[in-house]
């Protein structure tokens, strides 16, 4: 047998037959993932579609009703309200979050920066703080009567703003929590990508007289494009799943995030219908709607990012 250019580590020496145990080993190593994902990921996903076709009471009857849950959903103002709230919170958090992360990564990407480890580590503190704890402390900071923020705003003659009861206020409050949590994490992702850009490019630009802003726009942004697309996708998927913040926001009506559903997100709406009202079928239909939104967004993003690449 001649020496092959690609080493084949698991091939047995010529002439000997591999024992069955050895041949099955790779499958055994990947089996736990597929087993667990199958039972707790894939089957539930498929089952969501199935359950959504039923009037499904967890302790009572299951009646097949075809697409009635979807008809009802498309007529339900609470659904559109939840969609609006979800997108509003997503936009209010993602845009500032990613812009600030870009700026911070740019600032951190400096060879002579002192306390670089401290800055990087402090930015990850929000990420290790739980969403529940974050919500509790932000509720206090943004409180209408006793919050530090309203006190500061009062000093400059604004407010007090009711961040829990008002629609915009509650969206801003939730967006602030989301952005606080993820800005540092995204900064580190951007920074890692930035460090891969050769410094000579910046130097050459400097020599050519490009200022800091021109360097940021012409070098930093283009070289980060792939990771920017990645963070937009992950924060979109994350944004569609916001749940804990709105649940903990309103103490009087937690499942609707307030008496007039001013900050009820899609995932919270799903939870309310499924586990608050025990309408598993209708809840599953909301899950299907979420799935459609995720796929649509992933497709849109894929379309936009490939088109931009071919244009170049």
């Amino acid at each position: 047998m001649t020496v092959t250019s690609i080493p084949a580590p698991t091939k047995a020496a010529p002439g000997t037959k591999e024992p069955i145990r050895e041949r099955l080993a790779p499958y055994a190593y990947i089996a736990p993932f597929f087993l667990i994902f199958g039972v707790f990921g894939l089957v539930p996903l498929l089952f969501t579609f199935y359950v959504s076709l039923f009037d499904w009471n967890p302790i009572g009857e299951h009646v097949f009703i075809g697409l009635d849950n979807f008809r009802r959903l498309l007529d339900d103002p609470r659904f559109y309200n939840a969609v609006r709230n979800t997108f509003s919170i997503w936009l209010l958090s993602t845009v500032p979050e990613l812009l600030i992360a870009l700026g911070l990564a740019h600032l951190l990407n400096h060879l002579r920066l002192r306390w670089a480890v401290f800055f990087r580590m402090s930015m990850l503190i929000p990420y290790i703080t739980s969403v529940a704890a974050t919500t509790i402390v932000f509720l206090q900071l943004f409180d209408r009567d006793y919050g530090l923020l309203n006190w500061l705003l009062g000093r400059v003659g604004i407010g007090p703003i009711d961040f829990v009861q008002s629609t915009w206020g509650s969206h801003i409050l939730i967006a602030a929590m989301v952005a606080w949590r993820w800005t540092g994490y995204n900064t580190l992702l951007y920074l890692a990508s930035l460090q891969a850009v050769p410094r000579e490019i910046y130097e050459a630009a400097s020599v050519d007289g490009a200022g800091a802003w021109a360097q940021f726009r012409r070098i930093t942004i283009p070289s980060l494009r792939p990771v920017i697309v990645f963070t937009v996708v992950t924060s979109t998927i994350g944004g569609l799943q916001i749940f804990t913040e709105p649940l903990l926001l309103s103490q009087s009506a937690p499942l609707t995030c307030g008496p007039v559903r001013q900050c009820q997100t899609l995932t919270l709406f799903l939870y309310e219908q499924g586990f608050g009202q025990f309408q598993f079928g209708y809840g599953a239909a909301i899950g299907v709607a979420l799935f459609v939104l995720v796929v649509a967004f992933a497709g849109l993003n894929f379309f936009l990012s490939t088109r931009r690449r071919t244009e170049k």
Binding site: G41, S130, Q140, F243
Partner: protein, 277 residues
């Protein structure tokens, strides 16, 4: 290579980064301040910005109101199992995908990558139905077992195994008569242990902080994780403003201690696992 002139750092770089650090750290400091103050102090205008002397009183109330020590233990059990389990299972699967040849390898790996893009939260109702069919409602394994599968972890470990371990090394071991398992356990795993550790760490933190799934499957206070205990404490908001805050702070302390020791490795891990386009 000739010595390059490196531009000096401007003051506004420090101003910007300092402000970001302040905003990142302040809410935690505030959590501490409120959880050491009595309600009257916490409601003072302007707000008190230094810690009070009420910490132990509030902490004691937290432990009386809900079984908080039990909740911390439950969180620890769940997070440790998930962290260690993910580190091991993902290394094993990553090893198979990176270094072993078998039929269907590429298709199966593509499947793993695809599963990363679908958020599983939307199928939470059938997930609950399966858990209740297994009679796992209100148990910790309902949190642990589903948490063991991590597509991202497999993807990540595969990358590390593919780049850090040469095929020649594994082939040499083979020629010496090592079985596949021995190759993994004696050679491959020790070499990627740092990466597996960071993966386990991220799994630990995520599991410790998880809310929605424990909120759905846990029913009795003795089974609560720390996060669900915080929610229970919040229901007593009217009784004492600082109670939920104190619980939040107590539930965050273990993460902060962990972060002091391994925070640098977490930062490096996130930057290293950073998306490579």
């Amino acid at each position: 290579m000739k010595v390059r002139k490196i531009e000096r750092v401007r003051w506004w770089t420090y101003a910007g980064l300092g402000l970001a650090a302040l905003i990142s750290l302040f809410p935690l400091y505030w959590m501490f301040v409120v959880s050491t103050s009595d309600t009257a102090t916490a409601r003072k205008q302007p707000p008190a910005v230094v810690p009070g002397g009420n910490f132990f009183h509030l902490a004691a109330t937290v432990f009386e109101t809900v079984p908080f020590l039990r909740a911390l233990m439950n969180s620890l059990i769940v997070a440790l199992s998930i962290g260690a389990g993910q580190a091991l299972l993902c290394s094993l699967a990553g090893f198979a995908f990176a270094k072993l040849r078998f039929r269907g390898r590429n298709v199966l790996f593509l499947l793993v990558v695809l599963t990363m893009t679908v958020p599983t939260q939307l199928s939470i109702i059938p997930q609950y139905m399966i858990i209740s069919k297994l009679s796992w409602v209100d148990t910790l394994q309902a949190l642990i077992v589903p948490g063991l599968a991590s597509a991202f972890g497999i993807f990540w470990m595969r990358q590390h195994l593919a780049t850090t371990i040469s095929d020649e090394l594994l082939q040499a071991a083979r020629i010496d008569g090592a079985t596949t398992w021995q190759v993994f356990w004696r050679i491959a795993f020790p070499l990627v242990r740092p990466a597996a550790f960071v993966l386990g760490l991220l799994g630990f933190v995520t599991a410790w902080n998880d809310f929605l799934w424990p909120f759905v499957v846990l029913k009795s206070p003795e089974m609560y994780t720390a996060q669900i205990a915080i929610k229970a404490l919040q229901n007593n908001y009217d009784v004492d403003l600082g109670l939920a805050m104190s619980g939040s702070f107590l539930a965050t302390i273990p993460m902060l201690i962990l972060f002091v020791f391994v925070g640098r490795r977490m930062v490096a891990g996130i930057m290293d696992g950073a998306f490579k386009g």
